[in-house]
């Protein structure tokens, strides 16, 4: 005689149903990806300052390694880690930003006695430093998905301001599929 399924066997389907109901309750059909703690394989580690590649495939975030803020790069769905050997020894890292397919990872690193803007070109395995002229301290940055522009928040004399730089003479673009066919849009999605 077969016994009926116990509570432990019922739990996973019930949990799935609960998660489904919860996901459906979000507005506009927004779906919550399972907790990064399980999906991305970092345990209960604290992680901060997320950045996504333009296509949403890669996730960069900051975790603590030996007490220092360190950027990690992962496949968003599988959690697989991508090595970033050129960034070792330049912690603390901050403000990661990715191009469309993740070829470029721009971030702030600590070099000498100050923060510096660098771009890690993962295709050529190069680290491009972008030192700022003058006594200005970069706080945050954002790389455009096509890698044509970089916006940097700078502090000078206690005041924050944002400046934008064209990178087209420094970096090959990380082309966004269909961008040149569609042309610039204003307020409409394909």
């Amino acid at each position: 005689m077969r016994s009926s399924p116990g509570p432990s066997l019922l739990a996973p389907p019930l949990l799935s149903l609960l998660l489904l109901v919860q996901a459906c309750s979000l507005p506009w059909g927004i779906r919550r990806q399972p907790s990064p703690r399980s999906a991305l394989g970092l345990g209960a580690e604290s992680r901060q300052d997320p950045a996504l590649s333009g296509d949403g495939r890669l996730l960069a975030s900051l975790v603590l390694r030996s007490g220092r803020s360190t950027v990690v790069l992962q496949d968003r769905r599988s959690g697989q880690m991508m090595p970033l050997p050129l960034l070792r020894g330049q912690q603390p890292h901050s403000s990661p930003s990715l191009s469309w397919n993740g070829r470029y990872l721009a971030l702030l690193v600590w070099r000498g006695s100050r923060r510096q803007v660098v771009v890690n070109d993962r295709a050529t395995n190069r680290l491009l430093p972008m030192p700022l002229r003058g006594d200005r301290d970069p706080q945050r940055l954002s790389l455009a998905p096509d890698a044509r522009h970089l916006a940097v928040e700078l502090v000078e004399g206690g005041q924050s301001r944002v400046e934008v730089f064209a990178l087209n003479e420094l970096l090959e673009p990380d082309p966004i599929p269909g961008q040149w066919l569609q042309g610039p849009r204003s307020g409409s999605r394909p």
Partner: protein
């Protein structure tokens, strides 16, 4: 006869805009030759505070304004001009972190309102603001959009631990 240097100094002195432009030109370049967008940077420099930039193709979202009265701003790089964000900014809210998709259509925003932090999604063409609940409950601190506007990553603090929530949008 006046020396050329004197003449130039006299000419520059009463034009603070020109002095600001020169200052940006001299100090703004990255040493390896990245070229500052002078017109846009000058325009941004006229705001008391600008912070937390988020670039996506032709769009720059940032938080700017006077201390204590900051707002989300969206600038189209190719036109060097801000676009209106009707219905997004509230005088009783303090923006914390902003992100924009590559079409400048969707903006995600964390803001402090009535003593709590909330995550909202703004659709520019609809001028609509939709709150997104944080579940399990936590305090959102920072966010990022994929350029295609399909995925949102949010740093959320729960019980003293920072985590990253990932949301997929239709």
């Amino acid at each position: 006869m006046s020396r050329p240097g004197h003449r130039m100094g006299w000419a520059l002195a009463p034009t603070p805009g020109l002095a600001l432009a020169l200052s940006l030109l001299l100090a703004g370049c990255l040493d390896n030759g990245a070229r500052p967008l002078m017109g846009l940077n000058l325009q941004l420099a006229h705001t008391a505070v600008n912070r937390d930039p988020a670039l996506s193709s032709d769009w720059l979202a940032l938080i700017g304004g006077r201390e204590g009265r900051e707002q989300v701003r969206l600038v189209r790089l190719s036109q060097g001009a801000p676009v209106p964000l009707t219905g997004l900014n509230r005088p009783d809210a303090r923006p914390v972190s902003v992100a924009v998709d590559q079409w400048g259509e969707r903006l995600a925003l964390i803001r402090e309102l009535e003593g709590r932090s909330e995550l909202v999604l703004y659709r520019r063409s609809l001028q609509s603001v939709q709150p997104i609940p944080i579940e399990p409950a936590g305090v959102p601190h920072r966010l990022a959009f994929s350029a295609d506007g399909r995925v949102l990553a949010v740093e959320v603090v729960r019980g003293g631990l920072s985590q990253v929530d990932l949301l997929e949008l239709p």
